[in-house]
């Protein structure tokens, strides 16, 4: 009975999503909807990797030769020269080259390559120069609920729901039920295998919350990115940069005296070398560590999505040499195989991001005073942990 109720709820949700799916036409017909050439495949992959202002599941050409897109629009929120402007992205009619002008509050807006431009006063159409830059339109501050924002909000709400439920179940001194049984071993894994060994028994509790949040956020968004919904949230450099900056802020502000001494005035090395080391350590702490975190996640997810899309595109590119069935079969087999690897990568990247965050935080809060030996001049002799810290 309970299972019946659950599946009913799920079905209701699916029906709700598809009822709000609207089919709208594209006014420009130069795009025939066929992906044949290499350039079109490249454009198609690049389009998928980008964030977009609407949700589009599929598109097709109807009998009248009109391009139809199935999906649903998302709200566009702009801070223009006249203040706040909001409208639905369906008003652009899926146009992406600046030909559809939306007029709101006496201002005109056009969408060019997923970026929204505000036209100058008096202009009726966007003019382009030789390099295809708009000459009479400028970018506006865009606070739209884009596809990536929807992904972040949905995963955030789901995580809030799942984990508050899990926490409530522990308060009642019961073992977790339902989805909590899947989450519990992962939570314990992050605590015992990532937080404890890297941060140390004394401080790990304070940072476990952040590490768990980051781990599940990245892992779930990576997994959602592998579904046909077309999310590519962790492949947006802004998202990964933001996560890396969170880690930077946490380890910079929780760093103790030893941490800063080891950065600015490294003990145990000749005095002449200390300023040089300070420069290297400062660059390493504030630039290289966060940069390596953000580039690793971004590049891995982008590379994975590119490979999957390229394998799907085999269908279109090789249909002349292999036949439609052969090309589709080849594409299907390769896509399924790479998908298994991508599921592994989705977990591995979440693990590595969390692991390195824990390592950096652990280096910032490590207490050296008890296990340090001092030489005759009172200088600290670096131990194995310091040496490890210098290499990362």
């Amino acid at each position: 009975m309970k299972i019946f109720q659950r599946s009913f709820k799920f079905l209701a949700l699916v029906v709700l999503v598809f009822l709000s799916t609207t089919i709208y036409a594209n006014t420009s017909t130069e795009d025939g909807g066929q992906v044949d050439t290499r350039e079109e495949v490249d454009a198609y992959i690049a389009h998928h990797l980008q964030d977009s202002h609407d949700f589009s599941f599929f598109s097709y050409t109807n009998d009248e030769g009109e391009r139809k897109h199935a999906g649903f629009p998302l709200p566009v929120i702009l801070w223009s020269s006249e203040g706040l402007v909001t409208f639905m992205s369906s008003e652009f009619h899926h146009n992406d080259d600046g030909h559809v002008i939306v007029e709101k509050n006496g201002l005109k807006f056009a969408k060019i390559h997923s970026k929204i431009y505000e036209l100058e006063a008096g202009a009726t159409a966007v003019n382009f120069d030789a390099e295809h830059h708009a000459t009479n339109a400028s970018r506006v501050l865009d606070f739209s609920i884009t596809k990536s924002v929807v992904g972040i909000l949905v995963i955030g709400l789901l995580m809030f729901f799942w984990f508050s439920r899990l926490a409530k179940q522990y308060k009642n001194k019961k073992i977790p039920t339902g989805f909590g049984r899947v989450l519990e071993p992962l939570v314990i894994y992050v605590r015992d295998e990532i937080a404890k060994p890297n941060i140390g028994d004394k401080h790990y509790r304070k940072f476990t919350g952040y590490l768990l949040t980051v781990f599940f956020f990245i892992w779930l968004l990576n997994m959602v990115g592998l579904t046909p919904l077309g999310f590519n949230v962790t492949g947006q450099i802004a998202v990964t940069a933001c996560l890396a900056i969170f880690t930077l802020i946490i380890y910079a502000f929780s760093g103790n005296k030893d941490f800063w001494v080891h950065i600015l005035w490294m003990p145990g090395v000749p005095y002449l070398i200390r300023p040089i080391l300070a420069v290297i350590e400062l660059v390493g702490t504030f630039v290289i560590k966060p940069f390596s975190l953000l580039v690793r996640l971004f590049a891995n997810i982008t590379a994975g999505h590119t490979v999957i899309m390229a394998l799907i595109a085999i269908m279109f590119v090789m249909k002349d040499s292999l036949g439609v069935a052969g090309a589709t079969g080849l594409s299907f087999v390769l896509s399924v195989l790479i998908m298994f690897i991508e599921v592994l990568v989705a977990f591995l990247q979440a693990y590595i991001f969390t692991m390195l965050s824990a390592l950096f935080i652990g280096m910032a809060v490590a207490e050296h005073d008890h296990d340090h030996e001092h030489d005759a001049h009172g200088h600290k002799i670096p131990d194995a942990q310091d040496v490890r810290g210098d290499f990362i």
Binding site: R296, L348, I352, M355, L356
Partner: protein, 62 residues
């Protein structure tokens, strides 16, 4: 053209490095199977650092 050659060299270097890391970790685990967990963790961290370097080079060289 040159960036493609550069990308190829990066991939050769990264592949060589990953092979070294994986091979040495295997040897270590075979010698001391009880330390497999620790060796695996260290292996993944070093592999991640190497991968970050390789991806950084690929993106900058693109």
């Amino acid at each position: 053209m040159y960036n493609l050659i550069g990308a190829g060299i990066i991939v050769i270097g990264a592949g060589f490095g990953l092979g070294q890391i994986g091979g040495k970790a295997m040897e270590g685990i075979a010698r001391q199977p009880e330390a497999a967990g620790k060796i695996q963790t260290a292996m993944i961290i070093v592999a991640a650092l190497l991968e970050g370097l390789a991806f950084g080079a690929l993106i900058l060289g693109k």
